[in-house]
Amino acid sequence: MRITCPLCGTRDRREFYYYGDAVYADRPDAGAVPEAWNDYLHLRDNPAGETRDLWYHEMGCSSWIEVTRNTVTHAILGTRLVSERNSRRDKFVYQEGDLREIKPQATKPEPKGTEE
C-alpha cells in the first residue's frame, strides 16, 4: 500500500502511522453529552468499502493527513492535509492542558441586505 502525502508525494505505507477514523478530527464540544463522546470515541460506521481515516506521516514530514481509501481493495482514492480540512479547530483552544471552547466575540448585527 502506498499513500500520497500531499507534501512529500507517494510514499510507502510504512512511513505512516494510522490513527483511526476521520471522525477523530471532529472532537465534540467541550460540554457535549456522554452519548456524543461515545459516538466520537467508540462508535464507527466501519464500512467495507470507501472510508476516510487519519494517518500521520511519522517518518516523513510529520503532517496529519486525511486519507480516502477502500477498505476492501486497499486502493488509496485521495488524500489531503488535515490542516486543510474544514475542521472545527478554530472553535477551540487548548488552555491549561484542556480543550476549551472559544467564546464567540460579541459581534455587531449584520447590516441589512447582506443575508445569504
Binding site: Y18, A48, D53, T71, V72, T73, H74
Partner: protein
C-alpha cells in the same frame, strides 16, 4: 458419521468412497424460533449449546459461505485463560474448562493440546506486571508459574538469550494453555448441532433484518425471507455491516491480522511462546509447521490479506527472539478480519431491538473463546439474561464507562 482407526484403514483400502457428509444440507424453512447469523466457531457453538443446554432445536444457522470458512478457519489456534481483569477472567476460565472437556462432549478429536503457554518478559516492570497477572490467574482458580531467566532457558533453550534489546528476564508459564485444531472445533460443533436438529444452511447470505415495532421478526437472505422470533448476530469482522442492517452503529472497527506458517519441521518448539514486546508469538502444529503471527496491520481493512511491512516486522521479531528459525521456509500467510473494540474486550448482549442479540468484538482472541462464547450467548438468547461469566460484556459499557481495557491502551480500536 462415526470415526475410528479401523474405519480410516478400511476406507483407505477401499478408495475412500464410503465417507458420508457429517451433517445435513437442508433448505431453509420459512420460520424458526431462533436464527443465528454466522456459521463460524461462535455461531456453531451457540447453536450447539442452545440445543444441548436449553433444549431448543428449531434453530437455523445461516452462513454466507461455508461453515467455518471465516476466522475459525484462519487463526493461530491458541487456547489460554491468562486474563487479568474481573469480567474477562471468569469468562476465559470457564472457556478453558469447556475446552478441557470438549473432545468427550463432542465425541470429536479437536486435537486440544495443553502444551503450555509462555509469555516472555524483558524488564523489572514487566516482571512485576506478569507476577500480578499470574496471581490474578491463580486467584481465579487457573494456573500460572513465574519463571526466571534460567527457568525459561530450561524450557526454551533455543531462544537468543544474548540479545540486548529485549533481554529475557523470565516468563509467565500457563501450563493449561496450548492449542487446538481450528477447523475441527467448528466441525465438531457443527456435527453436534446438526445431530440435535439444528439446520446448518450454507451459501445463505443475510441481506436484511426485519424489524416491526421495535421487535425482530426475521431476516432477508439470498435464499429468501425467513421468519424468526429471535436473531443472533455472530459474524466477527462483518459485525458492523450486519448490525447496520438493523440500523445500529457498533463500537467496532474491522482490522486485518496476518499469520504465517512454515514448511513442516521435526518437533522443535514444544510450547506456545509469546514475545509481546516484539509482537510475535509462535507454536508448532502437529503437522510440524511453525505457526506464528504478530500484531495487526494497524489500519481498518476488510481485505483478508495484509501488507508487506508487517510481514517484515513479524519476521524481524521472530529472528530477534529465536534466530534458529531463520532457515525455515514460509509456506503461507493469510489475514483475518478482526472485530476490534475500543477496549479490546468482547460484547455478548441484547440490543435495543427486542429479540435481536449480538456476540462480537472478539478482537484477535476469539478462537479460545469459542466454547464459552457459545455457552453464554445461548444462555442469553434462551433465558433473556446474561450468563454470570459474561455479564460485563455489555454493549452499553462504552457509554457508562465500565470498560474492560485489559491492555490499558485506551479508546483506540487498533491498539488492543
Amino acid at each position: 458419521m462415526r470415526y475410528s482407526g479401523f474405519k480410516v484403514i478400511a476406507e483407505g483400502l477401499g478408495g475412500n468412497k464410503g465417507w458420508k457428509p457429517a451433517w445435513r444440507d437442508p433448505d431453509p424453512k420459512p420460520e424458526y424460533d431462533i436464527i443465528i447469523i454466522g456459521g463460524g466457531g461462535h455461531g456453531l457453538s451457540t447453536a450447539y449449546y442452545l440445543a444441548k443446554n436449553h433444549g431448543l432445536t428449531n434453530i437455523a444457522v445461516l452462513e454466507k459461505g461455508y461453515l467455518g470458512g471465516g476466522n475459525v478457519g484462519r487463526n493461530t489456534t491458541i487456547v489460554r485463560a491468562n486474563y487479568f481483569l474481573p469480567g474477562n477472567q471468569e469468562f476465559y476460565s470457564h472457556s478453558l474448562k469447556l475446552w478441557e472437556g470438549l473432545e468427550s462432549e463432542l465425541n470429536y478429536n479437536v486435537m486440544h493440546s495443553q502444551r503450555g503457554l509462555i509469555n516472555l518478559f524483558h524488564s523489572d516492570g514487566q516482571r512485576d506486571a506478569f507476577a500480578r497477572r499470574g496471581n490474578a490467574m491463580i486467584n481465579q482458580g487457573d494456573d500460572a508459574e513465574l519463571l526466571d531467566r534460567e527457568g525459561v532457558r530450561r524450557l526454551l533453550p533455543y531462544l537468543d538469550f544474548e540479545q540486548t534489546r529485549f533481554p529475557i528476564y523470565g516468563g509467565l508459564l500457563h501450563r493449561r494453555g496450548g492449542s487446538a485444531r481450528h477447523d475441527a472445533v467448528a466441525w465438531g460443533y457443527a456435527r453436534g448441532a446438526d445431530r440435535r436438529g439444528v439446520d446448518l444452511i450454507q451459501n445463505c447470505e443475510v441481506t436484511g433484518i426485519d424489524i416491526q415495532d421495535g421487535r425482530v421478526t426475521g431476516v432477508q437472505t439470498t435464499r429468501g425471507a425467513i421468519r424468526a422470533k429471535k436473531v443472533g448476530i455472530i459474524v466477527a469482522g462483518r459485525s458492523g455491516q450486519v448490525a447496520a442492517m438493523a440500523g445500529m452503529r457498533l463500537p467496532v472497527e474491522s482490522h486485518i491480522l496476518q499469520a504465517f506458517v512454515t514448511e513442516g519441521l521435526k518437533p522443535v518448539i514444544d510450547h506456545v511462546v509469546s514475545f509481546g514486546m516484539g509482537h510475535f508469538y509462535i507454536s508448532q502444529s502437529d503437522k510440524g509447521g511453525l505457526v506464528f503471527g504478530g500484531d495487526l496491520d494497524f489500519y481498518a481493512s476488510y481485505a483478508a490479506r495484509g501488507n508487506l511491512p508487517m510481514v517484515e516486522h513479524v519476521m524481524e521479531a521472530g529472528m530477534t527472539l529465536m534466530p534458529m528459525i531463520g532457515k525455515a521456509k514460509v509456506l503461507r500467510s493469510w489475514g483475518g478480519i478482526m472485530d476490534m473494540t475500543p477496549d479490546g474486550s468482547p460484547i455478548i448482549d441484547r440490543t435495543h431491538i427486542d429479540g435481536l442479540f449480538i456476540d462480537c468484538g472478539w478482537n484477535y482472541g476469539g478462537f479460545k473463546a469459542v466454547p464459552a462464547s457459545g455457552w453464554c450467548m445461548a444462555h442469553l438468547m434462551a433465558t433473556g439474561e446474561s450468563h454470570e461469566v459474561a455479564r460485563r460484556f455489555r454493549l452499553d459499557r462504552f457509554v457508562t464507562g465500565h470498560l474492560l481495557d485489559e491492555e490499558g491502551t485506551g479508546s483506540q480500536h487498533n491498539l488492543h
